[in-house]
Amino acid sequence: MAALATARAERLLVTVGNPNVGKTTLINAVSGSRFEVGNWPGTTVDRLSAHCKLSGRSVEIVDLPGSYSLAATTPEEKIARDELLALKPDLVVDVVDAGNLERNLYLTLELAEMGLPVVVALNLVDEARAKGLTIDADLLARELGLAVVPLVASRGEGIGELCEQALRDNPAACPLVAYQPCIEAAVEELGALLEGAPERRWLALAALSGETVRLPLPVAERSESLRQKLEAEGVDPFLEIAGQRYRTAHELSQRVLDRQQAPPQLTEKIDRWLLHPWLGLPLFLAGMLLVFRFTFLFSDPWIEFVGAVQGVLAGWVAGSALPPVVQSFLADGLIGGVGTVMAFAPVLFFLYLAMSFAESSGFLSRAAFIADRVMHWAGLPGRGFIPLMLGFGCNVPAIYATRTMEDFNDRLRVALAIPFTACSARLAVFVLFAAVFFPAQATAVVFGLYLLGLAAGLTTAAILGKLAPTGHSSGAMELPAYRLPTLGLTLRQAWMRTFAFIKGAGGSITITVLVIWLLLNVGGGKPENSLYAQLSQLLVPVFTPLGVTDWRLVGALIPGFIAKEVVIGTLGVSYLGSEPVAALGLMDGLQQLGQSFLTACWAFLNAIPAMFGLPQLAPPAPEAPDGLAGALGTSIAPAGAMAYLVFLLLYTPCVATVVAIRQEFGRRWASFSVFYQLLVAYVLGLLAYLVWPS
């Protein structure tokens, strides 16, 4: 993909820099927001790139993942390093935090050793100034032998000059670090073997440091023996090389930096509250609640609106002269399928907004810092807390939210735990059954199911952690300065990711809905004769040990795969028969659409105060067709109903969740979660039936 794109642009630029220094903001400013988002091939690390014209020349800019060094200590850093070597960019834009010069220059020194043309984008100058730091950019440029452009990327300051630099033919940077004689000798010897490679000095140093770099076999063998020789002489090449780079970075920054006394920074002041010994926890919980509510309260009106659009379209179909089967195919199959996909768009959009705000503002790192202790019980990192919590609203955005975790194994374990958490679609079924079968303890039953789901999820994660201990997932991370994200960039990124979901997952979800429509409608006539009824009856013996013997209850689990709340609608149809959809005229439909839109806007505005209201612990009143409660009450005993609820809570995640897992972790893990959850649901459902007093 990258190779294809480079063929088109005249000039390829890459941005490299520590995490959170404004690389993405810079690309956004340079390209005028014309960027695309995707994944690095074969990974789920976000890839952002932009095509634009600068002074009439076509330029492609690729955002490399945030890196502290090119030693590839994280999957992100490995991508950055490999792509730097593979892409052979015309210019490397090294984005440097002016307020943290010394550590950022470490990377600059490494880049210079790679023999690539580099320009230093000295970003966050405003923040540095507030810290009392002044940097002599001209002196820095002379010391480094590189162009240095001071910037405030979030306000677009200095972008013009950076664009000019971006088009110049900058010469390759020269190495700046002088190592101990014994290391220099080894580097020279290896460099001679790598004659012709512009990055040979960096490669030789990396090999001596014991990093895994691709080298011709004789060179690799030679470097290994040189490394052992150095170690025998009492020199640790890795620490010696890194130490010398840091010493050089320190001396450089001392020369160009003027440090004045400054009042305590905003970041320290906020941290004093957010990480306070006792206030920290309540503020953390309040913050989590805010993220949760933001995601679900703001998306809810638009999900309702999607439902209203579906209703109107179905009404128009009902008013047409098409045969009933075609009408049903269009209304329930096609419109239903596309509607299922579209209903996820609002929630994903607001989730991406919330997560990208939390991440680039610096709050996410603090949340991880606090939650680390809690998640530690399940052997998970603190960053897993937010995705797990979001799972209670909807599992699909929660799966995508695992991306903020670094380690693949950790992410996978959280993702496999998420579908066990009771999302709000399941809540609808719980409250209905609880009201019918356990009216006296309805709240306790619903609450108990939530706890059961969470326990099943965390146990899964803990067991998987024991089976496959995580590599070197480390909790060591920077707590970056609090920064205000730019609105335009955040909105655009959220929109593009949502669009990517619709494109990537929409097809599979729609097809699943169509298949289930087919199942429900083939062999029609009387409902008892349909293919669906026959299949359900076949499954009844499987569920008899759980005390569920009515085919209609068993059958409803099948369309429950579309979304668990669909169970209620299906039960309604199979117990009470379906109500025909009222036909709608064109004008009536349009009027309904307009009205629903206004309602959605109004509900959206009302979500703002609701975000800050007190949490409501009592479950909502059941919503179901009249008469369904009575029909259910006679079809199953309470113990069976309990087993049914437990099974419904834990069985196969809904299709959108499965597709999300497939997108993020591959087909194998998606199938694993389907079968594993079926098994867990069956076993625990059986247990529930056996222990429930009947």
Partner: protein, 75 residues
Amino acid sequence: MTTVCHLEPDQNAQISRLGGPPGLMRRLVALGLRPGAAIRLVRRAPLGGAFQIALGDSFIALRAQEAGQIHLELS
């Protein structure tokens, strides 16, 4: 000799040695935690378990196991 785990808030120290598996050591060095660097403990996490330290112009969070691998000389 002591480790980050034994520091009091606001106490300064210098890193003398890094222990632990090589992967962890490389990660720590990449974050700037190398032998010779001066650090200060800012605070422990509200629920315990983790440490926030100041290093140059940045703040770094460490879990207890990792903090225990950073050996210090008090200054």
